[in-house]
């Protein structure tokens, strides 16, 4: 009996070993060209990519990426259901994981317009507690400067972005990570904090030092506490908006001095890994540049019993076809970044390049070289996308040349506009320097679904909003918002805050109009270049847009970084945030040389008018004897000596 049990356990052990081996082989599938097990393991993904089924023979040597393999369970595959599996099929044996972890990732998406969108994501996870009594003192991958900020200012969540240029949704579609032009900062503080405003002020000062930016211009006049927008992105249920602060600086410039400290936060700096591509001369020679830092607590594992801190550094760039690409739809890493890749960051646990090939299953849009056999699928922005994956931790990726220079050769570029499901625009109407009207247009391009949007507007105090003129119309009819939160401004103290929850009817344009009056500033309050105008930050539109495929509601699962930023709660819709254009408004500006002119004029009037009058009144006039000539004087001297009276 004992022997029987022994043999049984031996069989079990062997099975376990075999499963391990299969997983390992699945992961190594790229290396072995004719290993078909990975495809056999993965029937569901093939079914999921049914539209590509015709392309399968051509892509015979393609393999699905290891994570995608794990995602699929065979039972689901039989049902043919599209929803992803709730649990990974095979979980690796538990090995003591290091407490911190670093991943890097680059996503490249060739855009319809011929431009190219590149998105870097660097994630550092650290299982530590910044809030406990004794200070965290030993830092490995997590940057110390930010760790100290978290513990000193009781930060629960911090999101900061610096953006130059405006994301053109109509041409480029939705970005993986939205951000408004200029600088944006929003912070959730721990609910144990008492003096939130004072801490916020100090925090902005410190961040301005860390990121070399003018964040110290954030004060009470441009800070708001949104009541419904900007819910925490990390875990935690506290959503009392007293601990939330949100501010934007639409005028903020973004340049090398902001990129330098941002790169210094990475564990490898810009010395190795994907970060070697970050050369400022190329990154800023682009249509859109956005860099961000997001800190939040996330689940450590599936059970989500413990938390770890996530630092996510993202950098999004859109290279222009005509500006950076010289009009040729042919892109390479070298052309975009003037560098090629030679290695992954040595401390990174994963280092990958994803190239979006969803529209390119047959190679009809562009050619990709070197070809990669590794494929991956991810649900991102409500759509299932297919990616070619280059794993930089594998030496084979770099080939014989020991360097990777991806080449994307576009076949055609149609510059036709996209129809994203949700997009928005905003402008100022009216003439003159006294009043005006802000128009916000929100487009729902879904053919039959309506969805809710939450509009947040923060307008500086010097535009005095007439809230009674607020109208919301869609399809020519009044569309009553189901929630309005309006906080009026106080001069020189706080801005207007307007939040509205509006239901956008299907296939419609919803227009929000609001009139305002321009205030007169004190003359020291004007900027040195008031003729340039004054900026009003972007409106923020948060929305739950109906998704085409089911969203993954298990937010603690391992996914590619670009698809795991916004946690999703329901399968039928995905969360998206859209920013409108910032506004540039002219304020009535006085003639700044007027005091000088007045002084000049007054002085002249005083000098000429009053001066001469005063002169006339105070001077005593005397008739002066003309002095005698020389001959007469000599004659007089002689006459004096003679003793006769002078002439």
């Amino acid at each position: 009996m004992a022997a029987h049990r022994c043999s049984f356990s031996a069989v079990l052990f062997a099975l376990w070993g075999l499963s391990l081996l299969t997983v390992a082989r699945g992961q190594e599938a790229t290396l072995e060209g004719n290993d078909r097990t990975a495809v056999v393991d993965n029937p569901e993904s093939v079914a999921g990519a049914a539209e590509q089924a015709a392309g399968q023979p051509a892509a015979e040597d393609r393999r699905w990426e290891a994570t995608a393999v794990e995602e699929v369970s065979p039972t689901e595959a039989g049902g043919g259901s599209d929803s992803p599996a709730p649990k990974p099929a095979a979980s690796p044996p538990s090995v003591p994981r290091p407490k911190d972890d670093f991943q890097e990732e680059l996503v490249i998406r060739p855009l319809h317009s011929g431009d190219i969108y590149t998105s870097f994501q660097f994630r550092t996870l650290w299982e530590t507690d910044f809030t406990r009594e004794n200070k965290v003192s030993h830092y490995r991958l997590f940057p110390k400067s930010l760790g100290q900020v978290i513990s000193k200012f009781s930060v629960r969540e911090l999101h900061i972005s610096f953006t130059q240029g405006y994301w053109r949704t109509m041409q480029w579609g939705q970005p993986y990570l939205p951000s408004p032009p200029g600088a944006e900062l929003w912070v959730w503080f721990q609910d144990s904090l008492t003096d939130v405003d004072g801490t916020w002020k100090e925090l902005t000062n410190v961040l301005s030092g860390i990121f070399c930016a003018s964040l110290n211009f954030i004060d009470s006049t441009n800070t708001v506490q949104p009541s419904a927008s900007f819910k925490p992105l990390g875990i935690g249920n506290v959503t009392d908006h007293r601990f939330l602060r949100y501010a934007t600086l639409p005028r903020e410039i973004v340049c090398t001095e902001n990129l330098t400290p941002w790169k210094k936060l990475l564990p490898c700096g810009s010395k190795a890994g994907l970060a070697v591509l970050l050369k400022s001369e190329k990154l800023f020679h682009s249509s859109f540049h956005s860099q961000a830092v997001h800190i939040r607590p996330v689940c450590k594992d599936d059970q989500c019993k413990t938390t770890s801190w996530e630092l996510r550094q993202t950098l999004n760039v859109v290279f222009d076809l005509h500006n950076s690409g010289q009009g040729k739809n042919e892109w390479s890493l070298f052309k975009m970044f003037s560098r090629t890749l030679t290695e992954a960051c040595p401390v990174a646990s994963s280092s990958k390049i994803y190239i979006d090939i969803t529209d390119n299953s047959q190679g009809e849009q562009f050619e990709l070289s070197p070809a990669t056999p590794l494929l991956s699928q991810a649900v991102v922005l409500g759509d299932r996308r297919t990616f070619s994956v280059y794993d930089l931790t594998q030496q084979i990726t770099f080939g014989t040349m020991r360097s990777l220079n991806l080449l994307i050769r576009g076949k055609s570029s149609q510059g036709d506009m996209l129809r994203p499901l949700l997009h928005a625009e905003r402008y100022v109407a009216g003439y003159g320097l006294q009043t005006g009207e802000i128009h916000t247009l929100m487009y729902n391009n879904h053919p039959y679904r309506s969805f809710p949007v939450l509009l947040l507007d923060s307008v500086p105090w010097y535009l005095r909003l007439y809230i009674h003129t607020l109208t919301v119309t869609s399809k020519g009819k009044d569309n009553k918002p189901s929630y309005i939160h309006y906080q009026p401004s106080k001069d020189r103290v706080r801005p207007h805050l307007l939040e509205m929850l509006v239901q956008l009817p299907p296939n419609s344009v919803t227009e929000v109009t609001l009139q305002f009056e321009r205030a007169l500033l004190k003359w020291t309050e004007y900027t040195p270049d008031p003729n340039h105008g004054f900026y009003v930050g972007s409106s923020v539109i948060s929305s739950l847009v109906p998704s085409i495929v089911a969203m993954d509601t298990n937010n603690s699962r391992e996914r590619p970084l670009f698809s795991s930023f916004f946690p999703s709660k329901e399968e039928s819709s995905y969360f998206v945030r859209v920013y409108t254009e910032p506004l540039l408004v002219n304020l009535p500006t006085p003639d700044f040389s007027m005091p000088y002119n007045v002084i000049c004029l007054t002085c002249t009037v005083v000098a000429v008018g009053y001066g001469s009058l005063y002169n006339l009144l105070t001077r005593s006039f005397q008739i002066e004897e003309p002095s005698p000539g020389l001959a007469k004087r000599i004659a007089n001297i002689i006459r004096k000596m003679r003793g006769v009276p002078p002439l």
Partner: protein, 385 residues
């Protein structure tokens, strides 16, 4: 060999200096003569707008030189009044060139600008000098110098007789500047101070100085204009001013161990090159300019004092990383709903301040009216109204 040591100075300079002390005692004596232990630089461009590109390039070329000679970014306060590098008119973004044909990019790939745009004001400049900044100001935006610091202050912009314009909207006068330096001296914020200004009538800015240990240079005399050096047709503006251009050429030849002294600096840009007459003032300075090395101000050749006292380092550093706390949180964490529609709609309106109920107020008024009519009656109303 000495030069080699200096190159490595930044990383392990203590070891090097010990070595120096063993082998080159006599050299070391000369080495420590200047009496400072740290170097700071405040580099200011006060001009806004694209056509003042050259002023930003001036400041950045000095920044490049001091950084190359070893002053770290943490000891440089760089103030640029406008963004030229990423200006929309710049044909090559993220660059600022000092030489024609885009030869030398002084902006570099690791610049750290501490004050930029609207932050560059007279108030901020004087506050940095005198150290009177708000308590939460980060260290990178402060001049944390002491009485052993050598400070280089470089200003460029548009000026006139006795003033320098900031941002085209305000100005600092030479008297204010002289008083700020006196305050710095009284607060023991510097050991020696080198002041360089490249602006029209620059010499007028240092003529009111009265604090000790100041040396000052200017690009032009009172009544003279400072001129720009060369335009670049691709960028479309003048790239640098003449004085700073030749100063940069001069500094490019300096290395951390060079023995060039201040007298050589005074010879930079003679009238044949500058068109204006550069001026300098050394009467407040106690040392002979011939014995002051350029690297005393432009570099960070740091001096170290050795102590003979024994310091006990055996005290074990307390291990702060305590063992994992046993009780882990057992409840499951969840992510917050990003757009909780129903929750938002049913959100309670903000708590108002307490207000007496409407019925109470109504009752009060009724009471008042009742008492009124009880007392006077209706017929007396005409007497009241």
């Amino acid at each position: 060999y000495v030069r080699g040591i200096f190159k490595n100075l930044h990383g392990w300079f203590i070891n090097c200096l010990r070595y120096l002390f063993c082998c080159f005692q006599d050299r070391a004596g000369q080495f420590f003569s200047s009496g400072h232990t740290n170097n700071w630089a405040v580099l200011v461009c006060t001009s806004r707008f694209w056509f003042n590109y050259r002023h930003v390039a001036n400041t950045l070329s000095v920044y490049r030189s001091v950084k190359r000679l070893g002053i770290p970014d943490s000891h440089i306060v760089l103030m640029l009044a406008d963004d030229m590098a990423c200006n929309h008119r710049n044909p090559k973004p993220a660059t600022v060139f000092s030489h024609k044909n885009m030869e030398l990019n002084v902006y570099g790939d690791d610049v750290e600008v501490d004050y930029r745009g609207y932050e560059v004001t007279v108030e901020n400049f004087l506050r940095i000098l005198t150290g009177r900044l708000p308590p939460s100001t980060p260290r990178s935006k402060r001049l944390l110098s002491d009485d052993r610091s050598n400070i280089l202050i470089y200003l460029t912009g548009h000026g006139g007789n006795g003033f320098l314009k900031f941002q085209d909207s305000e100005e600092i006068s030479n008297v204010e500047l002289a008083d700020a330096f006196e305050q710095m001296w009284q607060k023991r914020r510097y050991n020696e101070l080198l002041f360089i200004i490249d602006t029209c009538q620059g010499a007028s800015m240092y003529e009111r100085f009265y604090s000790p240990n100041l040396m000052a240079l200017a690009s032009s005399q009172v009544g003279e204009d400072s001129l720009s050096h060369q335009p670049d047709l691709a960028i479309g503006v003048h790239l640098m001013d003449r004085y700073t251009f030749y100063l940069l050429e001069f500094l490019e030849d300096i290395h951390p161990a060079s023995k060039t002294n201040m007298n050589d600096l005074f010879k930079v840009c003679p009238k044949s090159q500058c068109v204006s007459t550069p001026g300098h003032r050394t009467d407040l300075f106690l040392r002979d300019p011939g014995s002051v090395l350029i690297t005393d101000f432009f570099g960070s050749v740091r001096k170290v004092e050795l102590t003979m006292e024994t310091i006990n380092l055996t005290d074990p550093i307390e291990q702060l990383e305590s063992a994992e706390s046993g009780e882990l949180q057992k409840e499951m964490h969840t992510y917050a709903d990003q757009l909780p529609v129903s929750e938002i709609i049913h959100q309670k309106p903000k708590q108002k301040d307490w207000h007496p109920p409407d019925g109470f107020i109504l009752g009060l008024w009724t009471l008042i009216l009742l008492v009124f009519f009880q007392t006077y009656g209706v017929k007396h109303l005409k007497h009241i109204f």
